[in-house]
Symmetry: C2
């Protein structure tokens, strides 16, 4: 209407030197999408679409290096040196484990635009188990969409509320106090299942259960100032934890998983035996997959040694 045109013209005059630019609203990568916070040098949110199909593939994280994102201007980018010696690990928001489908997808996930300063144990432990749970959901749901990101939560001090977070390195990368994960899971002819969780960025042992960290989407939206899924009709969704376990992989199985990872990366017989002995030390019973993996690696290493 007329009033708005008037405001627009006045606006152009005010913004003669261009409008203050906070960077692109959306950044598309091979297998994820994100928005970047140029002040905090971390992503605001990172979105992914998981299906049994997209999780296939053999791209490995082994020879990938974390790199500053070439699409982020240097003055707003984190650097590896910001993380080194900081006491915080480089935590993927869209996990490497979701990007086996191609080398490109895997490489993109190692750009620092997808990384936040994360407690080491939380990264390898609870958050890793939550990422595994999200992948497992594709066994029961055709489509799983995930949005993950960092958060700074308030605390009380002498009757007042504050937000406080550490910043690390020369680039002053913001360390989140919590991380959030939104899970939207779909299966034919059933209402969309929605689960929203806020996880403290600290070590969380096996006594903590996922449901303890569940909140509603509006609570997260009010906290972050973001409407995450504007086209999803919340009234037509059901609680993910009512239609699925919301149980993360338990201790024994998780340790078997780690041993499996070590078997995969063992490249000498002695290393292979050393890892296998860990099973006995930890009194863990290997399952069928783990035994097959052990025998397969055993054969492969023997063959490699013959060829040398």
């Amino acid at each position: 209407n007329f009033e708005d045109i008037n405001k627009l013209e006045q606006g152009q005059e005010i913004l003669k030197y261009g409008f203050p630019d906070r960077g692109p609203e959306l950044m598309y990568y091979t297998n994820h999408v994100l928005a970047y916070d140029r002040a905090k040098r971390t992503p605001v949110w990172v979105a992914e679409h998981l299906t049994a199909e997209t999780l296939k593939g053999y791209a490995s994280r082994k020879n990938e290096k974390f790199l500053p994102d070439p699409r982020i201007p240097e003055m707003f980018s984190a650097q590896n040196s910001d993380y080194q010696g900081s006491g915080w690990s480089r935590g993927h928001m869209s996990p490497a484990g979701n990007h086996k489908i191609s080398k490109e997808a895997m490489k993109d996930s190692f750009f620092l635009s997808n990384i936040v300063p994360q407690n080491y144990e939380n990264n390898a432990g609870f958050w890793n188990r939550l990422e595994m749970y999200c992948r497992d959901l594709t066994k029961n749901f055709q489509s799983v969409r995930i949005i993950s990101g960092p958060l700074v939560m308030p605390y009380e001090e002498e009757g007042k509320k504050f937000i406080k977070y550490q910043i690390i390195g020369n680039s002053e990368v913001a360390v989140p106090t919590h991380l959030y994960k939104i899970i939207v899971a779909e299966r034919k002819s059933q209402p969309v299942a929605l689960g929203v969780f806020i996880i403290p960025n600290e070590p969380l042992d096996f006594s903590h259960h996922l449901t303890k960290y569940q909140i509603t989407l509006p609570q997260l939206e009010s906290r972050t100032g973001i409407n995450f899924v504007p086209k999803l009709d919340l009234s037509k969704t059901v609680n993910l934890c009512d239609v699925h376990s919301c149980q993360l992989i338990e201790k024994g199985k998780f340790e078997l998983y780690f041993i499996g990872r070590k078997l995969e990366s063992a490249n000498t017989l002695s290393r292979l035996e050393h890892v296998w002995k860990e099973l006995e030390e930890k009194k863990l019973k290997p399952d069928k997959d783990l035994i097959d993996l052990y025998e397969k690696r055993h054969k492969e290493i023997l063959m490699e040694e013959k060829r040398k």
Copy 2:
């Protein structure tokens, strides 16, 4: 190119439920433009264009009330109740004094989208004097463009850096630790003059000079993650404080200004005399304008009393 289209398609699939929305990049008002931070419930930046012309007019702030901005969804908006009893004043980023040109412009400036929690003395004192300085610049420059906003600055604690700020009210409005002001002043056939300042959100007496708070634009841009004036070629600008005083109004004159404001709002003879007596108490010598103002108000009140 092909690779991008591929990423775009994959992106659409990921963002089936729409992309996470952080609200409009730009919001136009009658006489200012801003971007709003839905998480902090305060503006990110507020831009204005001052000239001798735009500063004219008689719209008064007296009968204006602070109001939540109807264009901001309630869940992301500050409320007056957040400020009441919080110990922080409602601080205009684009000051009321710049909006005399129309009732509409004045009203827009009282929306809480243009307001941040500000120390009372800072608001009425140093920051007020800085706003007066900006208006005075229009006497020497044809065009003065200003961008103002809140900031949270880091501090050191046991060898680590932190950012800490208070949040007030049910809406958890973020209290900035500092405020910034960017001044871009133009006059014919001279390079554009640029001044950028970061002011602590605390009482600052007359011993503090403006130049002490001056920083470079890149320093502010790195801090905020914002390129404020993308179309301004910095290499062709000069330091405002090299071509103008950068001196804020001094104590005596500032007190005369306040007395002038009280004379304007006095509506009985006794009130007028009471204010005028303040001059003697503070041993202040009234200038010509103040004497004229006093005599004008004296006549007006007499006439009003006759009419009653």
